[in-house]
């Protein structure tokens, strides 16, 4: 193990790796800070570039971009009251109020250092718990993996929209798209309609670029109005004041980090949920709950700590079970597979050096996030004022170039654009996109394990309730469905009352 740690330290100190991490944090922060662009979009567009890098540099770059993007979203949340990503939605209420009261610098300072602390705690969780969970996960058979993926899909369908029906429908579309290509058990071609390019199926990166990049571009250009975005000038925050405030709210920091890491580690849900849960709990446990929504400092700290604590923890299900914690980690999983690394229980034991390097990279990117964040806070207003028509025209070009570069085929660009139109329609109808992408990634895992389970059990489903862990996981999924149905019935009653 000490050899692996030494090798990791040697690898991480290589100039190209450090440069990749710095580039990832800078690009992520800028993307997160630009209204309409998100960490997810950035990951999707830049993932193809990592296919041409060595694994450590490529994966470290993407992880750094993820962290930078998650923090960058807080800049728009505080300065213009629009969250850069769904993970920063809870920051808006108090962050924007603080900015309007002339305390934009302090709000951004709290968001930055809250993010850094949360990020560090999330990475520690990954380092401490990943090997233990990996050992435990070796006991998982086909039935358990099938059950855990079904539970993840149910969770994500439940939390990602107002209606469970729409969430499950979106997930089923993802499962349907995943069918295109080659049968994972028998290897026969299916649903290719005689198009040879569909033989290998549709890749997760063109799908993600289409759904999160192109559809967002089309939607933003369609909705564009010539209103100038006004952002306040930010003065550099006083670091002593920031740390004193964080120390004063250490309990909020601690509980938010635990919530963020805990929810982030659950397969299927991530920072989009944890920031609201942490915000709610901070308000409930605060001595001054009446200040929440009107510029409470805890209202900025709690969601930012929670959503960044989830960054490291979300990688636990991704790396160990091969089940992504959220959309960003599903793109990361696509990049890992493209690098020849198959996520699963044996991934860490078979690639120990690389994993210790990635762990080290996570901590290095945390330090770089703090340094880049200090500069970004100063220039955030300038990023935000970039004219939207120029920005989105340029992003459309990057979507095309990024997709084309994966296989150098115009066919992939066509698929990405077609998926972009589907995503645009889904956005307009408030059909959630997240369950679709996660179901697309989980589809082959569900199918392979479901069919293997049936082959081994002689076509009997009884194995699902005969194995306690599988039964428990399916019971959780059933409980989520019942909870959602109960909520829908109650809502209908309130409307009629």
């Amino acid at each position: 193990m000490s050899d692996a740690v030494l090798a990791a330290l040697l690898n991480i100190s290589a100039p190209m790796v450090l440069l990749s991490i710095l580039a990832g944090v800078v690009i992520g922060t800028v993307i997160g800070a630009l209204p309409g662009l998100s960490a997810t979009m950035g990951m999707a567009i830049f993932a193809p570039a990592t296919f041409f890098m060595p694994p450590v540099e490529g994966i470290s770059f993407l992880l750094a971009l993820y962290k930078g993007g998650t923090f960058g979203g807080a800049l728009t949340a505080v300065l213009i009251g629009t969250p850069g990503t769904a993970s920063n939605a809870a920051t808006v209420a108090d962050g924007y109020s603080l900015a309007k009261a002339g305390k934009a610098g302090k709000a951004l300072g709290l968001a930055l250092w809250g993010s850094v602390i949360g990020d560090g705690i999330g990475c520690l969780c990954l380092v401490m718990f990943a090997p233990v969970i990996a050992k435990f996960s070796l006991q998982f058979g086909n039935a358990e993996i099938f059950a855990v993926t079904v539970m993840s899909l149910t969770l994500v369908a439940y939390v990602s929209g107002a209606s469970l029906l729409r969430g499950v429908f979106a997930a089923s579309l993802g499962l349907g798209i995943a069918l295109i290509g080659t049968d994972p058990i028998g290897g026969s071609a299916r649903l290719t309609f005689g198009i040879p390019e569909l033989g290998a199926g549709i890749g997760v990166i063109p799908l993600a670029i289409g759904l999160f990049g192109m559809s967002e571009v089309m939607d933003q250009l369609y909705r564009y109005r010539r209103d100038r975005i006004e952002a306040p000038v930010v003065h550099q925050p006083d670091l002593r004041d920031i740390f004193a405030t964080l120390w004063r709210y250490k309990r909020t920091v601690g509980q938010s980090a635990i919530i963020g890491a805990g929810i982030g580690a659950l397969p299927g849900i991530g920072a989009e949920t944890s920031n609201w849960v942490a915000y709610g709990l901070a308000k409930r446990t605060s001595r001054t709950p009446e200040k929440f929504g009107h510029g409470a400092e805890e209202g900025v700290i709690a969601p930012e700590v929670a959503c960044n604590a989830g960054c490291g923890a979300a990688m636990i299900p991704t790396l160990i079970f091969g089940i992504p914690g959220d959309i960003v980690t599903s793109i990361l999983m696509g990049a890992l597979i493209a690098q020849g690394l198959q996520p699963g229980p044996t991934l860490i034991s078979e690639n120990t050096d690389m994993f210790y390097t990635l762990y080290a990279g996570l901590f290095v990117s945390m330090v770089m996030l703090a340094l880049v964040g200090l500069v970004a806070v100063r220039f955030a207003s300038a990023f935000i004022r970039i004219p939207q028509p120029l920005l989105f025209s340029a992003v459309a070009m990057l979507c095309v170039a990024g997709t084309y570069s994966i296989n150098t085929r115009l066919f992939d660009v066509g698929v990405m654009i077609a998926i972009g139109f589907v995503g645009w329609w889904m956005r307009s109808q408030r059909l959630p996109i997240a369950p679709m992408v996660l179901a697309f990634v989980l589809g082959p895992i569900i199918e392979t394990n479901f069919r293997r389970m049936l082959i081994q059990s002689g076509n009997s489903l009884s194995v699902l309730w005969e194995r306690p862990l599988a039964a428990a996981l399916l019971a959780v999924a059933a409980a989520i469905v019942i909870l959602a149905l109960r909520g829908a019935v109650q809502q209908a009653r309130w409307k009629t009352a």
């Binding site: 570039a49 069918l179 049968d183 299916r190 084309y404 059909l431 076509n459």
Partner: protein, 160 residues
């Protein structure tokens, strides 16, 4: 601006998806090549390669009809009325499709310059210096960046 009921749009889209999914489920054997059985050498056809796709397509069809029904309920209640800017919708869709169709013939650099140079003025943004600088930066710099950085030759001009 056209006034449309979003429930109707949702129902129409879901009905198309539902019918397509159920048609595919009914004719799945035509779209799946290979063995008729789960594994070569076995006689068990219940988990044949077409069984799982048929199950998922059936699920999509059922859920699509359920979602269409919720859209029809919205339509019936008359809620969710919103404006549709048809010229803008056609403009954005047309630009994206035209750019894709022209990509193979005109190449990346020319189409990128045309889109960045054309879309912002069409939306009312008239800072020509910023438009020119962005068009040149993205269109001209992206090509060598992909060529020498990632060893990828982006689509080239092949009209003549």
């Amino acid at each position: 601006m056209l006034r449309i009921n979003q429930g109707g749009v949702l129902a129409a889209g879901c009905l198309v998806i539902g019918v397509a999914a159920l048609w595919l489920a009914a004719t799945i054997d035509r779209h799946v090549k290979g063995w008729a059985f789960a594994m070569p050498g076995t006689t068990d056809a219940t988990m044949a390669p077409s069984a799982f796709p048929a199950m998922i397509l059936g699920l999509i069809g059922t859920l699509a009809f359920g979602t269409a029904l919720s859209g029809l309920l919205q339509l019936w209640r008359g809620r969710e009325i919103s404006g549709l800017d048809l010229p803008r919708l056609l403009g954005v869709s047309g630009t994206v499709l035209l750019r894709f169709l022209m990509l193979a013939k005109l190449g990346f650099v020319l189409t990128a310059a045309a889109v960045i140079g054309g879309v912002p003025p069409a939306l009312g943004y008239r800072n020509w210096t910023a438009i020119t600088v962005t068009a040149v930066l993205i269109a001209v710099l992206a090509w060598p960046l992909f060529r020498y950085g990632m060893n990828v030759i982006l689509p080239q001009f092949t009209l003549f």
